[in-house]
């Protein structure tokens, strides 16, 4: 796999037509990097306005499995199965089905530069969005793993930074899934919400899953970033949002929580309650929110009728 990313980038820029070729090169890179085997530890930081968060994490990927460890616990990943540990017990969540992945044509490969990071030969790659830099990746040439990932906001400032500070390519480790799980749940397809659009700001609603009780999880992706919109009954309360920050989009007020890996947004439309979670940058979030059901309160009669008659 040596120099693979350099080859991908070179072929994209030289052999193929600029725009289409660059997209293909980026898509090929994203697909190959997901399976790259490595062990590393690093830090992830996220900043949006006055809100910021950071955490450390350790990840090992080998033989088609991943093990992730952070301050809040650990995860084991194998195919569509995610196992999380709580105390001494493991809990499994398995995705039953999902749509094929595709990368939005708004992204393309920009300038590439050979560099050295963590003492290793690497390639710095700019990911462009409609002619503007959206992300910068420093990719290990041997493994194709991103040693550094920076995502930029619309103002050019860094929105999220993920940097490995320790890295081993193709580690010789044996990983095994737990033999049994306290619970093993399946994430099953559910009925798409009629209130949520099929796409929002170029993000395609690829899958909809049913939630326990009533509600749904709509998964949107543009191939580079992704988010879920959880749609539940209007009376549902995400209690952890009490310390969130308010922000406005086109005059409507939302509440957000910034964590190291995701941004969470909560609002209530006149009909339903929503939680959006994803890794997309703030300007994308604002554009997406403007195409989703808007926050609003119900009129007196509607509130009264809904409570009385359900």
């Amino acid at each position: 796999m040596a120099k693979r990313i350099a080859t991908l980038v070179l072929s994209a820029l030289v052999v193929m037509p600029a725009a289409a070729g660059a997209d293909e090169g980026l898509a090929e890179y994203l697909e190959s990097a997901m399976d790259a085997e490595f062990h590393g530890s690093g830090v992830v930081m996220c900043t949006w306005g006055a809100d910021s968060a950071a955490t450390t994490y350790e990840v090992t990927r080998s033989d088609g499995m991943s093990m992730v460890q952070g301050p809040d616990g650990g995860l084991m990943l194998s195919g569509a199965l995610t196992a999380s540990k709580a105390g001494a017990d493991w809990y499994a969540l398995e995705v039953s089905e999902w749509s094929a992945w595709s990368l939005s044509d708004r992204y393309s490969l920009g300038d590439t530069t050979a560099t050295i990071r963590l003492g290793r030969s690497a390639t710095e790659v700019n990911v462009m969005e409609d002619g503007r830099i959206r992300a910068r990746l420093v990719i290990d040439d041997e493994s194709t793993v991103p040693l550094l990932t920076e995502v930029f906001g619309a103002d050019g400032g860094v929105f999220r930074l993920a940097a490995l500070v320790e890295f081993v390519a193709a580690p010789a480790v044996d990983m095994e899934m737990p033999e049994s799980f306290m619970e093993h749940e399946m994430l099953m397809y559910g009925e798409p919400s009629s209130l949520l659009p099929d796409s929002a700001f170029g993000y395609r609603r690829t899958d909809t899953y049913a939630l326990d009780g009533s509600g749904s999880q709509a998964f949107y992706s543009d191939g580079l970033f992704s988010f879920s919109v959880f749609e539940v009954s209007r009376g549902a309360a995400p209690g952890d949002f009490t310390d969130g920050s308010s922000f406005e989009v086109e005059g409507a007020t939302y509440t957000r929580i910034v964590t190291a890996s995701n941004v969470w947004v909560h609002w209530r439309s006149p009909e339903r309650s929503y939680v959006l979670v994803g890794d997309l940058p703030p300007d994308h979030i604002e554009a997406v929110l403007s195409e989703l059901p808007r926050p609003g309160t119900r009129g007196v009669i509607m509130r009264w009728l809904s409570r009385l008659f359900g």
Binding site: T55, S66, L77, T82, S221, V277
Partner: protein, 124 residues
Amino acid sequence: MTHPIDLLSAFLDGELAPADQAEVANHLHGCASCAADLEGISRVRDWIRGMPVEEAPIPLLPALRQPRWAWAAASIAAAALAVGLVVTPAQTEVLDLDTLAGQHTARVVVSPGISSIRGPVVGR
């Protein structure tokens, strides 16, 4: 802030944005009129909640066409509207963000993307 009459019911239910919730609370401290309105809404809401709940013995819509049900519904509606009420029971369903984070992560990791190529981060 002008008298937030329209927001009092949502304030009682905790449905306002944090900033609006704080602003209404501040207003209530210094406005006897709105405080009295809030107390009135709260009292009538408690009264409505205290009413016995019975399952309709027959499908609701056909039942509403019957004079007896129509009268009952119209009477309650008129009473509520007359005092400008919004009748909302307390919220009971609480969303666990860790559960939602787990479901989102489970879907993220099966497809390429900026988060999946560097490895997901545990937790939210």
